[in-house]
Structures are given as C-alpha cells and as structure tokens.
C-alpha cells in the first residue's frame, strides 16, 4: 500500500535496492510505476538509490526509494544533501530488528532516533508512521505532499509487521488526497535559487535543465545557491531550513486521539504497536477503567498540540513502543513535565495487548484519579520502571 500511495501521490521516479522487509515496495514499483509511464530501476546500492532519486527530483520529478535500517544507514549522506539543497524526496524506511543487519524478518521500532536525528545540525526531518495498510496508503501521500510543499526529504517509517503482513483493505474507504505539486519559481532572470523574503518561506523551485540557470550545492550557500563560507546570509539560509518546517509543524502533525474525559492515564503509541494499544484500551474500558489513547501518526514534528489536549487532567502517560530504551518516550519527555511518564517496551517481537494491559495495571495506571499510592511518583528520568514481556 506504500507503493499504491506513492502512485496516487504522483510519484514518477523510483530507484531501489533489495532489502527485507522493504523489497515488496521495490518490486511493486518496478512493475506498476513503469506500467504508468514512470521510471523505476534497480540501483547497485542504497547510496546510489537515493542519489538517483535526488538527481531525478532536481529535474522536477517526484521521487521515492524504499529501504530498511541497514540501507538507511548508507543513505544518510544523501538525505542531508537533499535537506541542504531543498530537494523533495520520500524515503520509505521499513524497520527491522537492529542493530547492524539485526534480524531481517523480525519487526522493530528501533529506528526512531536513526531516522530523525541523522543530520549534522539536528534539523527536523518529517517522519510519518502508519500502523496498517490503509494508513500506509494515506501517509505515503502525506509524505509526498509535504515533501513537495516544503522541499524537504520526508521519511515514511513503517516496519516489517506493517510492511509484510497481508491484510484486507476496504478500497472504498481509503483516503485519497489531492496530490500537492511543488511551487515552481517564476522563470525570471536573474534567478536566485533560494529567493525568500521570510525565513519560513519555501523558495520556488526551478528544475536543473530548465530555462533559468540553477545553482545547487550541498555546501553552505547564499541565496543564489553559491557556495560560501559562513556569512550572515549563509546563516540565514541555515536557519531557514529549520524555520520552514517549524512554520508548518502544527499542520503536519497528525494524531488520532481517543480520549476519555475521566481518564487519569493516557496511553501513547504509534506504528504497529498502536494496534495492540488500541485493543488494550478497549479491554480496559470494558473492565470499567477510564483511559485515554493517542496514536501518533506524525512522529516528527511532534504533534505537541494533540499531546497537550490528550494529557489535560492526566497524571500518568504510558508510551508503548517496540524498542528497548523508549526512543519516542525520550522525545516526548520534555513536553510532559510534571506527568508520570512510563514506558512499555520490548524487543524481538510485537508487544501484545495483554502485555500493555499488565504493564498499565502493574504501574497502577488503572487506579482512579486522586487515589495514587505514595510510592508511584513521577519518574523524572523518563526511564521505564516496568517493562512488559522482557
């Protein structure tokens, strides 16, 4: 469904390299994209895959590649190049168990940090995280639309359990978004590649090979794209790269809240674990425990507003994710000052609804509000005091 979403979004170029569990996307694009008159081809490694995509995007084509953790590691150089040169490109990162080659056919949600914090300078790379096939379709379109609109690399972060599980999808219920095209610059001369008035503006795009001369560099540059040593103008350009993302953070931040006004605790999850979390919430509510749930679909920029509303009146926040150290919980921690923040973590296999329920019960999360035992104070370190299934 990632491939279907890419086609619906107007993807015209794909370069791929085989890797479990992302090969299905590669295979479908090799067949379907070509059938639609686009170009899909095999690159000799992941470095080449993303370079080819960036080259094609510089010429104006919507482009995508798909990989897993080991391939993403090779692509980081070019992700940064796309960021610096403001070249739209989408990378579907289908997580598997790490580190290193880890487990090719085992799912994981261990690449949150690797996907987001992989740039010198720590710029925000938008990351969307679908939890099922239908969301793969919708969020891939979102990834393309935001990539084009912001002229930025965007990551679609899924995992083996989402990517390689065949499931029934209701075609009629699929979200079909209007494809967004990058805003093209006026063909005026002299053209400045990064001609913006305000730092948060996205400059108009002119393709390499078009009528106006385009200057592109991955090095620090001025408004005309010319390589320059640090100067006030260069610094402005560097700040602009972050500001343009920040300016759209609220609009980009997708989350699915399922809140209970009487809840004293909130369960946060994303990707494959959100499905187990949803089931767990259903069971707890049936048993009469009020609990709120927030599924995060845009991991970055963090949906701060949705989180704010979801945590109103809540004492404890649980973050369930399939990694050992609570990567996304660490990201959320600064936004949850004063809350008791606990992780439900596991590696090696999916977290089950039962494990989530047990973890919440053990931590006293189902005790009615205002009736907390004294020993359950907030964990300021943000570390899990209990782990499920470990």
């Amino acid at each position: 469904m990632v491939a279907e979403g890419a086609l619906a979004a107007g993807c015209r170029f794909f370069a791929g390299y085989p890797i479990t569990p992302a090969s299905e996307i590669y295979e479908v694009m090799m067949r379907e994209l070509v059938a639609q008159g686009g170009l899909a081809l095999s690159a000799p490694d992941e470095i080449s895959s993303l370079c080819y995509c960036v080259g094609a995007s510089l010429r104006g084509l919507k482009a995508m590649t798909a990989t897993s953790g080991p391939g993403w590691a090779l692509m980081i150089e070019t992700v940064q190049y796309a960021l610096m040169t403001e070249t739209p490109v989408v990378i579907a990162l289908v997580q598997r168990l790490g580190p290193s080659t880890g487990g090719a056919t085992q799912g994981a949600q261990g690449d949150i940090f690797l996907a987001e914090f992989s740039t010198s300078g720590g710029y925000t790379i938008p990351v969307f995280a679908p939890s099922n096939a239908a969301e793969c379709y919708e969020l891939t379109q979102q990834a393309f639309n935001w990539s084009e609109r912001l002229r930025s690399p965007v990551v679609l972060l899924t995992d083996k359990e989402v990517g390689m599980t065949t499931e029934v999808v209701d075609d009629a219920a699929l979200a079909k978004l209007s494809p967004v095209e990058r805003s093209w610059a006026d063909a005026k001369a002299p053209f400045a590649a990064y001609d913006i008035e305000r730092a948060e503006e996205v400059p108009g795009f002119a393709p390499v090979g078009g009528g106006v001369k385009v200057t592109v560099t991955g090095s620090a540059h001025d408004r005309r794209g010319r390589l320059r040593k640090v100067s006030p103008e260069v610094v402005e350009m560097l700040i602009h790269l972050q500001r343009k993302i920040d300016a759209h953070a609220a609009e980009m931040a997708l989350a699915r809240p399922d809140l209970d006004p009487d809840a004293s605790c909130l369960l946060v999850s994303y990707g494959i674990t959100a499905r187990a979390a949803r089931e767990a919430v259903g069971v707890l509510r049936k048993e009469g425990f009020p609990i709120s749930f927030l599924q995060i679909q845009t991991l970055f920029p963090v949906p701060a507003e949705a989180l704010h509303w979801a945590t109103a009146g809540v004492r404890t926040v649980f973050v369930a994710e399939e990694n050992l150290t609570g990567q996304y919980r660490t990201v959320l921690a600064p936004l949850l000052a004063g809350k008791r923040l606990l992780g439900i973590n596991k590696v090696g296999s999916m977290i089950s609804p039962d494990e989530i329920i047990r973890a919440i019960r053990r931590a006293g999360g189902t005790i009615p509000r205002g009736d907390w035992p004294a020993e359950h104070g907030p964990d300021e370190m943000g570390r899990p005091i209990r782990k499920a299934g470990m």
């Binding site: 059938a35 000799p44 370079c51 009528g211």
Partner: protein, 450 residues
C-alpha cells in the same frame, strides 16, 4: 549570432599556479564552444575537492555541486529523468578527481553499464590535493605522499580497463597539457551514451613536492603503469538507457487491474477471531494455500491478516503461514493462543516447536496432522489424515484447510466459488482437486483421533 560563451571571460581561475585543473576548464570551454550547445542544455556536476571549484567559473550552465564521489550518481539520476520528461535534452558533464573516482567507483561502473548519456571528466592528479596530498587508488608506484612516506607500494587502478569491462563505450585518456584535449572532450560530450575522459595532470601543490610529476617523467610514470593514452577502441556501440527504455515502453507491462467490488452474497457467521497456523515445507504451496484461504474469507465478509515465514534461502526448509480471520477489522496481528494448527511436514512442525507456536496450543486447539508424521502435540484435539498421500504433497496444505472447513465451516463452501473464479483457468483444476480431496476426507470421516 556567435557561439555562446561558457567560461566567464573575466574568470579568475582559483587554482594553484601550474595546476592541471586550469587547463581542463579552458579546454572544456573550448569544447563546448566548438559544439555550440545551448548553455541551459548542460549541467556541470562537480565533486568535492579542487575540481569542485569549477562551478562558479561557468556562469551560464546549470551547476550541481555534490557530496564526495556522488556527482556521478546524481548525474545518473538527472540523466535517467530524461527518459520520462517530455522534450527534455540535458547533458550532465561530471567533473571528479581521482579521489571521487575511487569513492564513487561503483557509480562509474553503473553509469557505464546503464549507458546513460553523461560525460565524466576524471581529473587524475594522482592524489588528494585539497586535503593535503594524501595518496589515492590512482597514485603511481613509489610516489611519496603525505600518507605514503616510504613510497607507494600498492599498484594503481587502470580506470579505463575497469570501465571497459563494465561495457563503457567512449573511454579516453589524455594529459592535461595535450593540445587535442579540447577535441577529445568535445567528442566525449557529443558521444551518445556514457563517455569518460581521464585527464592525467599535475598537482603543483603536493604532487610535485617529492615526485617528478610534470612533463616527461609524468609521461614515463603513465607508461610504466601501462596506461593507454588516447581513445580506447570501442567494441560495439550500444543503445543508450533512454533508447532502451523507450523501446521497452512500446509495450509496457500491463498495469494492475482496478479493484473490483466483491459481492457478499454469502456471509460468514464467524463470531470471534480465529488464529490458524499452517506449517509445511518450502515449495509445497503452504503460503499460497494460506493466501487462498484469506481470499475465500474475504469473499464472505471476513477480515484477515496473513504473515509468512521461511528460512532466508526461501527455496528450502520450512514454510509457515500465520492467519487471523475475524468478523471485525483486526488490530493486533499476533496471537496469544492458536485455534487451528495444520502440520503437513516434519520440517514445518519442527519450526513450530522452535518459534514457540506449540506453546500456544490449548486443549481447544484443533491440530490437523498428516498421518505420515510421527508427532505428539503437547495438547489439543488432534486429528490425523493422509493429506500428502491422498492429495499430493503440493496440495496437502489446501486439502487440510478444506478438511478443517468441512468439519468446522468458519468459511462457508460458497466462498471457494469466488476464489476459483478469480484464478487463472490453468490453476483452477489444481485448486479444486485439492479442495475436493480435503472435503471428501472430512465427509467420509475415517479420521483416527490420537
């Protein structure tokens, strides 16, 4: 109308005195003037190193300055885009050094193999100039550099020979001081397909510090390495990638058919989710039989998930499918306990033991085993039959599924009609035979309970 200018007439070349790069940019400019190409039909794609300083010297050309070694790869992407852009005509000219050729060697090989229409100018001054004169994969034997203080003892690469084996069409090697260099560059750019000119030159900053790297000694060094000077004879001109792609697109692969609405004339009365595991041997249609079950379930209004597992080799060893059928959309795709286990081979069963599935068998679990297997499940309602013998090993999994459904009709029989109708005619007979054998066995009874 005169020819367009390429190198800015007032360009102040930013290179050290005597550096070969200055000669190359002048010769490139001459070549472009001779070809009289519209400036906007060219993109200079430059690498990291002194070679990357060329961008600013050509004010009318598109320029793309890349990360180290990747200029060839980015140029490949730009050239590939040509194939799908209407009325496009852009020629990437890649400028890399010997360092860029080394770190980006795979990109050069793939560009040659694809025969994309790009021209690569390799500025080979035998070392890394910008970073202080470290040796590269192209440093001649015995050369002293900052990283080969005792003299280089690793033989240098011959890029032309390497790329010839990657099917490169146009390959040439010249000295930067050659008066015909501009002509060779022009021929390379005019060549339809991948072309590369390796230009042997002098780094006056570091190359000449401790080596004889100019004039006759440079020529002798090249000769000692067996370097061909001039154009390497072409074997046979090949069509470019773009030409092959357009040829391919004369009869493109058929697009996937649009989804068809599924008529739910019969609905399953399944009340709760069911978890089914099918275990067998690779090549015996375990996973495809499981997919047919999911399709049948879909046609009677059920939701399903299917996960497959097999050894990395895929073609040997076990083959497993784990299925969930549910009247509701499925959230969690794992299982705490299993409702039906079908074991049709020893290899498959062994894997169920290894991956922990057997621990999920409860007294309520229906365990269907091929009667040839000498297996004692930990618990469950165990039934054995000769699925392999009666239906053939390749039909055993599907026959066992039909057997189960004959006993416990979670998916009504009518569902299979829709599945059969959706299959290619050639496959229907096979599938319906397997289904018939399974349901006959179920209706005959004759099952030996363990």
């Amino acid at each position: 109308m005169g020819n367009p200018t390429y190198l800015a007439s007032d360009a102040k070349l930013p290179y050290c005195r005597g550096c070969g790069h200055a000669l190359v940019v002048r010769q490139l400019s001459h070549a472009l003037e001779g070809l009289n190409l519209p400036p906007r039909s060219l993109v200079l794609t430059t690498d990291i190193g002194c070679v990357g300083l060329a961008d600013s010297l050509f004010p009318y050309l598109h320029t793309v300055h890349t990360t180290h070694g990747r200029s060839t790869a980015m140029a490949i992407g730009m050239a590939l885009a040509e194939a799908v852009l209407p009325a496009a005509a852009l020629k990437p000219v890649v400028m890399i050094g010997d360092g860029g050729a080394m770190i980006g060697l795979l990109h050069l090989a793939h560009a040659a193999q694809l025969n994309v229409d790009i021209t690569v100018l390799v500025h080979n001054n035998f070392l890394f100039g910008m970073t202080g004169g470290q040796h590269s994969a192209f440093t001649p034997l015995d050369w002293i550099t900052s990283t080969t203080p005792g003299g280089n003892f690793i033989p240098p690469l011959d890029l032309l020979k390497l790329l010839r084996t990657a099917h490169a069409g146009f390959l040439a090697r010249q000295f930067a001081t050659d008066s015909n260099l501009g002509g060779v560059i022009a021929d390379a750019i005019a060549y339809p397909g991948f072309s590369l000119v390796e230009i042997l030159e002098t780094c006056t900053g570091y190359g000449t510090l401790r080596n004889k790297a100019t004039g006759t000694p440079l020529r002798e060094a090249a000769s000692r390495q067996g370097y061909l000077i001039g154009r390497m004879e072409e074997e046979q001109q090949r069509p470019t990638f773009g030409a092959l792609y357009h040829q391919e697109m004369q009869s493109p692969p058929a697009a996937k058919a649009a989804p068809q609405a599924i008529e739910l004339s019969v609905r399953s009365d399944l009340g709760n989710p069911l978890h089914i595991v099918i275990a067998g041997t690779a090549g015996e249609r375990v996973q495809s039989s499981a997919a047919l079950l999911c399709r049948a379930a879909l046609s009677v209004g059920l939701y399903s998930t299917q996960k497959n597992d097999n050894p990395v080799t895929q073609g040997s060893g076990f083959s497993l499918s784990e299925i969930c059928l549910s009247p509701q959309p499925i959230e969690y795709t794992g299982m705490e306990s299993v409702d039906v286990v079908i074991g049709v081979s020893q290899e498959g069963w062994n894997e169920l033991q290894a991956n922990g599935t057997l621990a999920k068998i409860t007294p309520k679990t229906l365990v269907l085993l091929d009667a040839e297997l000498e297996i004692t499940p930990p618990t469950g309602r165990v039934l054995r039959h000769h699925f392999r013998r009666e239906a053939t090993p390749k039909r055993a999994a599907l026959a066992a599924i039909a057997f189960w459904l004959g006993m416990e009709p979670a998916v009504p029989n009518a569902a299979w009609d829709a599945v059969l109708a959706s299959l290619p005619v050639a496959r229907r007979e096979d599938v319906s035979t397997a289904l018939r054998v399974g349901s006959n066995l179920a209706s005959q009874g004759g099952v030996c309970a363990a």
